[in-house]
Amino acid sequence: MAGGTNIPSIEAVCDGVRSRQSSAVELVERSLARIASLEPKLNCLHETLKEHALDRAARIDAAIARGEHVGSLAGVPIVVKDNIATSYGTTTCGSRILENFRSPYDATAIERLEREGAIVVGKANCDEFAMGSSTENSAWGPTRNPWDTSRVPGGSSGGSAAAVAAGYAPAALGSDTGGSIRQPAAHCGVVGVKPSYGRVSRYGLVAFGSSLDQIGPFAHSVRDAALVLQAIAGFDPRDSTTAEIDVPDYLAEIDRPVEGLRIGLPRRFTSPDNDPAVNKAVLDAADEYARLGATIVEDIDLPLTDHGISTYYVIAPAEASSNLARFDGIRYGHRAELAPDEDLFDLYARSRAEGFGPEVQRRIMLGTYVLSSGYYDAYYKRALQVRRLIKQEFDAAFAKCHAILGPTAPTPAFPLGGKADPLSMYLCDVYTVNANIAGICALSLPGGFAEVEDQLLPIGIQLQCRAFDEPTLFRVARMFEAAHLQDRLACPVA
C-alpha cells in the first residue's frame, strides 16, 4: 500500500528479501502489477523494464539462495528518471531527438544502485532535458499527479515523484538543476533530496546545467532517501566535479534529537505571494521544531536569493545551449530528411527544430544569447558574480544556524495547462534554485496539506544545509517526519 503510515521501510523490505520471507521477484512482480494498473491514468514512465527487472530479480534471489552477499538495496525496485543513462531500455530525456536512443553504458549512480542490489523497473517521464516544472514538456505526454490526476506532479522529475507516490517502487532517482527533485516531491507528497553539488557523480546524467545538476533520491521517508543516497554518493574518477570527501554514514545519527540545533527561518520565504497553506505548513513546522527543542533563528536574511531566478535563468540556459549542441543528428538521435538542395546547415537546423520541443529551443536561444560576444559580460559574467555573492550569503547564514527552513514551492500542485506562460512556470522554482546556485544540500519533505476544491493536496517544506552536511539535513528532516508520520494520508490513487 502506498501512502499512509503503514508503508514498510526499504530496510524492512530488504530484510524480507534477504531472509527469504519474500523475494526480489515477488517485489518486482508487485511493482509491475501496480505499474500496469496505474500507468494508463498517470503516465509516470516512458518505459517499463519488465524483462530486465524480472531477470535481475531472479538473479538476486538466486544469489541469496547461494548465500552470497547482497547489498543494502537487495531486491528493491527503483524508478529512474529518463535522463539518467542505463545500458538497458531507452534513455530519451523526454525528447523526440533521443527517441529510441539506447545508451551503451550505465550512469555511475546506476552502477552503484545495482551494486547494492537495487532493480530498475522503469524509466520515468520528465520534462524534456529536465527543463520544466510540471512534466508537461515531455515528448511522451504529461505525467499526472496521483493525488489529483487533473493536476501536474511538478517537474522536471515528475514521473519519478509520482511513481513513488503511486507505489510503483519504494524509491526513485531524479535530477535537480533548479528544484526538479524537490518541487515534484512537494507536489506528490514524498521526500526528495537534492544532494550537495559534487556529492553524486553526474557521469551518465544527461547534462542540462552542468554546474547545477545533481542526481538525488525520492522515497516515502527520510530514512529511505538517506539509504538510497548512501548507495549513490561519493567520489567518481569519471566526474572531476565530484568531491574527494568521504561519505559519512547517513543513518548513524539520523535519529539523534534536534535539541540544541538552530534552525533558520528567513521571513522572506513565507511571502504573502505564497499560497496560505504553504506558509502555514512552514510556520507549523517551525513551531514543531521549537517544541522538539531546536532554536528557531529568525535573525537571518537572504536578500540576494530574490535574484536567484534571474541568475539561474542565465547560467542554466548558457550551459544548456552548449551541452545540447551534441544533439546534432550526425552520430545518433533524430536526423531530418533533407531535400536535394539542402546542405549541412539545414541538416543541423532541421534536425534540431524537429527534435527539440519549444521550451528546450527557448532555453537554447536564451543561453546562446547570453554567451554571445557583446552580451557575455552583461549577462553570463554578471550572473557568475551574483552566484558568488549568493554563496557568500548562505555561508553567512549557516554561521548562525544549522539548517534553513522554508517552503519548497509557493503553491501546491497546479492544474495541467495552468501555467501557460514560461515566466510563471519559472517562478515555481523561486525557493529551490538557490540551493543549486550555492551548491548546498536541500530536501523537501511532506509538511501538510492544502484543501483545494475539496481535494487534499500535499505541501512540501524545504530544509537546506551547508554543502556536504547531509547528515544534519537528514537528521533535522527525520525529527519532523517522526513527529508527523501519523498525519500522513494515503495517496488517493491507492
Binding site: R202, Y203, D239, S322, D328, I330
Partner: protein, 519 residues
C-alpha cells in the same frame, strides 16, 4: 627583408621595397598513451598510428549523452615541459573553456580549449637567423586543447563515397597550440623555428613529430609592409594560412603570400584594418594559396568556462618535478658538442637532428669513456665517435635505408672501434670495414678485426721490408725528409700503406721512417 625586383608600378601605386611580417601558430599533437579527456587510445601515440577508422572511440569521444571529460595529467605535464623549453611562465592557475561551433568532426558541438588563461605564456626561443645573427622569437602563449576528428570522402580501400564520412580516431587527441609574436621577417627563419621546435618537442618526448601524420601543423599569419618609395608604409591585410603540415608547404605559402599580397596591394591598395583578415589554404600541387574565408569575425565561439572540468592548479612540487624532467635541449646540446668535442656546426646538427640518434651517439661516447677509464685518448671520444657515425655509419645507413642508431651495431661495439682506431690497432679503412661487419654481429670488435685481417701489422720484419721498398721507390721524398722537409714523410707512409694493402700500422711506419731517415 626581401626586395621585390624591380620596383613595380600600377596606377599611382608603386612598390619600392617590401618587408614581410609573420607570426606563427603551431599545433602539436601530444603523444600521450590516451586521449586528452578520456582513457581511449590516442592516435598520435605510436601504438595506435594505424588504427582502423573509428576504432579509438568510446562514449566520451562520441559525445554520447551523459558523458564527462576527465583531464589527462600527462598531457598537461607534456605541455608544461614544452612551455619550460620555450622559456615560458607556467601558469599556477589555468582553466578549460568551451569553444562552441557546429561541425561533423566535432562530436560535442564544442571544443575544450583554454581561452583567457593558457597553461603557458610569455616565452621566447632563440634561433640562428638566415642573416647569420641570432633571432629571438617571442612566444605569446602555449595552451592545451583537444583535436577534432576527420572528414573524408573515401572508403577504406580508396573507393570514393558520395557523402561525407567521419573518423573520430583523432577526436580528443591532446593538442598543444603555440602562438608566436609576429617576430619573423622571412620564410627561412620561420622554417628554422619550426624545425627547431619540432626538434625540441621530439627531445622532450612529447611527440614523434611525424609530419605526414599531422603530428605538427603550422598556420602562419602573414602580411607585408609595402614601402612606396615616397616615404609611406602600407600594411596589407593579414592572411592566415591554415593547416600546413610540411616545412616545404610552410615556406611555399609564406613566399607565395609575400608576392601575392604585394601584387594585390598594387591592384586594390587595401590595407590592414578591422575585418580585413582572411583565411587561406595551401594548394600543394599548384604551389599557391587559395581563399577560404574572407572575414574573421564571422564566428562567435561563445567561449565560457567548462563546468565539467576543474581548473588546473600547478603547485611548486609539481612544477619542479616537471622542470627536473626537462632534458638538455637541442640548441644547448649542439653548443656543447662544438665547445667540448670540437665538432663543427654541420656535424653537431646532424647528430642532434634526431633524439634517438643523439641518444645513441651519447651512449657510444659514454661507452668509450667506460673503456678507456682514466686514460686520455688522443682524440676526444665525442669527436671520434661523431666522425665514425657520420662517415662509416652514414654510409651503412644509406646502403641499408636504416637510421644509424638502428644498424645493429651496439654502442659498446662503436666504442671498441674508436678505441682500436685510437690505439692504432686498426687503420682508418679497417675501422670503416670493421664498423660495417659489426652491424651484423654482436661479437667483440677485436675478434672480428682479427678474423677478418683488419688488425694493423706492426711486425718489425714486415714493416722494415716495406719501409726499405718505399724509400727505394720514392728516393726524392726520402731525400726531402733527410733534408728536414718532414712533410714529405706522408708520401713515404702512403707508399708503405699501398705496399701493405692498408694493413700496416701507420704510427709504427711513421716512427720507423723517421728512425731510418734520421729526422
Amino acid at each position: 627583408m626581401t626586395t621585390m625586383s624591380p620596383a613595380t608600378t600600377t596606377g599611382d601605386r608603386k612598390v619600392a621595397r617590401t618587408r614581410l611580417v609573420i607570426g606563427l601558430e603551431v599545433h602539436v599533437e601530444l603523444s600521450t598513451r590516451t586521449k586528452m579527456f578520456t582513457r581511449t587510445g590516442n592516435v598520435a601515440h605510436r601504438d595506435h598510428y594505424d588504427a582502423e577508422p573509428n576504432s579509438l572511440v568510446d562514449p566520451v569521444v562520441a559525445a554520447l549523452p551523459g558523458v564527462l571529460p576527465v583531464m589527462n595529467r600527462r598531457a598537461v605535464e607534456m605541455a608544461m615541459t614544452v612551455g619550460l623549453a620555450l622559456n615560458c611562465t607556467v601558469a599556477r592557475f589555468s582553466k578549460w573553456d568551451r569553444k562552441n561551433y557546429f561541425y561533423p568532426d566535432l562530436p560535442k558541438g564544442y571544443q575544450i580549449s583554454q581561452y583567457d588563461l593558457p597553461l603557458c605564456g610569455d616565452g621566447a626561443l632563440d634561433i640562428p637567423g638566415a642573416d647569420g645573427t641570432t633571432k629571438r622569437i617571442g612566444i605569446i602563449r602555449a595552451h592545451l586543447e583537444e583535436d577534432t576528428g576527420k572528414l573524408g570522402h573515401e572508403l577504406p580501400g580508396g573507393l570514393r563515397y558520395e557523402g561525407s564520412l567521419v573518423d573520430l580516431n583523432r577526436a580528443g587527441t591532446p593538442l598543444l597550440e603555440i602562438v608566436t609574436q609576429p617576430d619573423f621577417d622571412c620564410a627561412d627563419d620561420v622554417v628554422t623555428f619550426a624545425q627547431e621546435l619540432r626538434n625540441i618537442c621530439r627531445f622532450l618526448g612529447v611527440t614523434d613529430g611525424i609530419m605526414q601524420r599531422g603530428h605538427m601543423r603550422f598556420e602562419p599569419n602573414v602580411n607585408v609592409v609595402v614601402f612606396d618609395g615616397a616615404g609611406q608604409e602600407h600594411r596589407t591585410p593579414i592572411v592566415e594560412v591554415k593547416n600546413l603540415n610540411s616545412f616545404k608547404a610552410l615556406r611555399g605559402a609564406i613566399e607565395h603570400e609575400h608576392e601575392r599580397q604585394a601584387k594585390q596591394w598594387l591592384e586594390d591598395g587595401r590595407v590592414m584594418g578591422p575585418g580585413a583578415k582572411s583565411t587561406r589554404g595551401w594548394d600543394d600541387e599548384r604551389g599557391i594559396t587559395v581563399l577560404q574565408r574572407e572575414k574573421e569575425d564571422a564566428h562567435d565561439y561563445r567561449y565560457f568556462p567548462d563546468p565539467d572540468l576543474v581548473p588546473v592548479v600547478v603547485d611548486d612540487a609539481w612544477l619542479s618535478r616537471v622542470r627536473a624532467a626537462v632534458p638538455e635541449l637541442p640548441m644547448a646540446r649542439r653548443a656543447r658538442y662544438r665547445s667540448e668535442f670540437g665538432l663543427d656546426e654541420k656535424d653537431a646538427h646532424a647528430l642532434v637532428d634526431d633524439p634517438l640518434l643523439c641518444r645513441f651517439y651519447e651512449a657510444c661516447v659514454d661507452a668509450v669513456h667506460l673503456r678507456t677509464g682514466s686514460q686520455v685518448p688522443t682524440v676526444h671520444p665525442g669527436f671520434a665517435v661523431a666522425k665514425l657515425l657520420l662517415n662509416a655509419g652514414a654510409k651503412r645507413s644509406n646502403e641499408r635505408s636504416l637510421p644509424i642508431n638502428e644498424l645493429g651495431i651496439a654502442p659498446s661495439q662503436v666504442a671498441a672501434v674508436v678505441v682500436l682506431r685510437d690505439e692504432g690497432v686498426v687503420g682508418p679503412q679497417a675501422a670503416d670495414a670493421l664498423f660495417g661487419l659489426l652491424c651484423d654481429t654482436d661479437a667483440e670488435a677485436i675478434e672480428v678485426a682479427r678474423q677478418n685481417g683488419l688488425v694493423a701489422i706492426r711486425d718489425d720484419a714486415a714493416l722494415d721490408r716495406w719501409v726499405t721498398e718505399a724509400i727505394a721507390a720514392q728516393p726524392q721524398a726520402a731525400e726531402d725528409v733527410r733534408a728536414g722537409r718532414t712533410a714529405a714523410i706522408g708520401r713515404l707512409v702512403g707508399q708503405v700503406m699501398k705496399l701493405s694493402g692498408g694493413k700496416a700500422d701507420a704510427k709504427a711506419v711513421n716512427e720507423k721512417l723517421r728512425e731510418r731517415l734520421g729526422s
